[in-house]
Amino acid sequence: MAAPQQREEKESEDCSLLPLVHDIIKCMDKDSPEVHQELAKLKVKIQEARDQISTMPGVDSSPLEQQQQLATLREQVRTKNQLLQKYKGLCMFDVPKAS
C-alpha cells in the first residue's frame, strides 16, 4: 500500500515545474552561465507535460461525465445479460443441420 503512494508522490513531483523554476532563479542569483540551460530544461519539461497530457486515456471528458458513461455501460451490460438469460430460458427449437 505504501509503494503505490510513494510512486504517486514521485509522479506528482515529476510533473511539478517549481524545482526547475527554483534552479533558474538560483542560476540568475549566481549569474551562472547555466541559466540558459535551465531555461531550456523548463521549456522541454513543459512540452513533455503537454505531450503526456495529450496521450493520457480517459481525460477527454470530465470526471462526472466519465462516471455517467461508466454507469451507462454497466447498465447496458446488465440489460443485455438479462435479455440473453431470457432468450436462453425460452423453449428453443432444434434447427436441423442442412444435409
Binding site: L17, L18, M28, R50, P63, L64, K80
Partner: protein, 252 residues
C-alpha cells in the same frame, strides 16, 4: 442551462499554459529588477504565489487524470463485454429467425395437406364403385391380355381396323351418296335408323340393342317418311318403344 463542464484534458492544458506564462513573467521580472536594480513592490511575490498555486492545481489535476485513466480501463473492459453480448444476441436472433421460417413452411404445408384432405372427402367415392368401374374398364381386356391369349391371336386391346370398319362409323362412311330414306349419309343418324345390312353385329349386342342405340326418330316431325317403308318403320319404332330391357348396361 447548466454549463458544460470542461474536460480534464482542457483544464490540464490551461493550467500548464498559465504555469508557462507565470514562470516566464517571474523570470523576466527578476531579470529586470536585477538589471535595473529597482526593487519591485512585491509584484514578484504575487507572481510567485500564483505560480505555486497553479503548480498545485496541476498536480491535483494529474491525480484526477490518473484516476480517470483507471476508470477508462474498466470502461474498455465493459465495452468488450457489451460487444460480446451483442454478438450473442445477434446469433440467437438468427436462430430464432431460422426456426420461424421452418415453422412457417411446416404450417403452410400442413394447411395445404388439410385442404387436399377436405377436397378428397368432398369428392369421396365408395371403394365398391371404384372396383366395379375397374372391372368394367378391364372387361375389354384393354389393361391385361386374356388368359388364353397367345402370339398370333388377332385380338388387341384397342379397336382393330376390321372392328372399326364394321362399326357404325365405318358403315356411315360406306353409305351410298343418295342417302337412305331420302337422307344424306351423314344424316343417317338424324334419320333415326340404318338399314339392317349396315347394322354392326357385335357378339355382346342383340338386334334390339343395336336399334335402341340410335337416337329417337324424328323423321315424321318433318314429313320426310319415304313411301313404301312406313310399315317397317312403324314396326321398328314399336319394337324400340316396347323393348324396355335394351340398354347399354346389359353389357355388364
Amino acid at each position: 442551462m447548466a454549463a458544460v463542464e470542461k474536460s480534464t484534458k482542457d483544464r490540464l492544458l490551461s493550467v500548464l499554459e498559465d504555469l508557462e506564462v507565470l514562470s516566464r513573467e517571474l523570470i523576466e521580472m527578476l531579470a529586470l529588477s536585477r538589471s535595473q536594480k529597482l526593487p519591485q513592490p512585491g509584484e514578484d511575490i504575487r507572481v510567485l504565489e500564483l505560480l505555486v498555486q497553479r503548480d498545485q492545481e496541476l498536480q491535483d489535476l494529474m491525480e484526477v487524470a490518473q484516476q480517470q485513466g483507471k476508470v477508462q480501463e474498466e470502461m474498455q473492459l465493459l465495452e468488450k463485454e457489451v460487444e460480446k453480448r451483442d454478438s450473442d444476441i445477434q446469433q440467437l436472433q438468427k436462430q430464432l429467425k431460422e426456426a420461424e421460417h421452418i415453422l412457417a413452411t411446416a404450417v403452410y404445408q400442413a394447411k395445404e395437406k388439410l385442404k387436399s384432405i377436405d377436397k378428397a372427402r368432398k369428392g369421396s367415392i365408395s371403394s365398391e364403385e371404384i372396383i366395379k368401374y375397374a372391372h368394367r374398364i378391364s372387361a375389354s381386356n384393354a389393361v391385361c391380355a386374356p388368359l388364353n391369349w397367345v402370339p398370333g391371336d388377332p385380338r388387341r386391346p384397342y379397336p382393330t381396323d376390321l372392328e372399326m370398319r364394321s362399326g357404325m362409323l365405318g358403315h356411315m362412311a360406306n353409305l351410298p351418296t343418295n342417302g337412305v330414306n331420302g337422307h344424306l349419309p351423314g344424316d343417317a343418324l338424324a334419320a333415326g335408323r340404318l338399314p339392317d345390312v349396315l347394322t354392326p353385329h357385335y357378339p355382346w349386342q342383340s338386334s334390339d340393342v343395336s336399334v335402341s342405340m340410335l337416337p329417337p326418330h324424328h323423321g315424321n316431325d318433318f314429313g320426310l317418311e319415304p313411301p313404301g317403308h312406313n310399315k317397317e318403320n312403324e314396326d321398328d319404332v314399336e319394337a324400340m318403344s316396347t323393348d324396355s330391357s335394351s340398354s347399354s348396361s346389359d353389357s355388364d
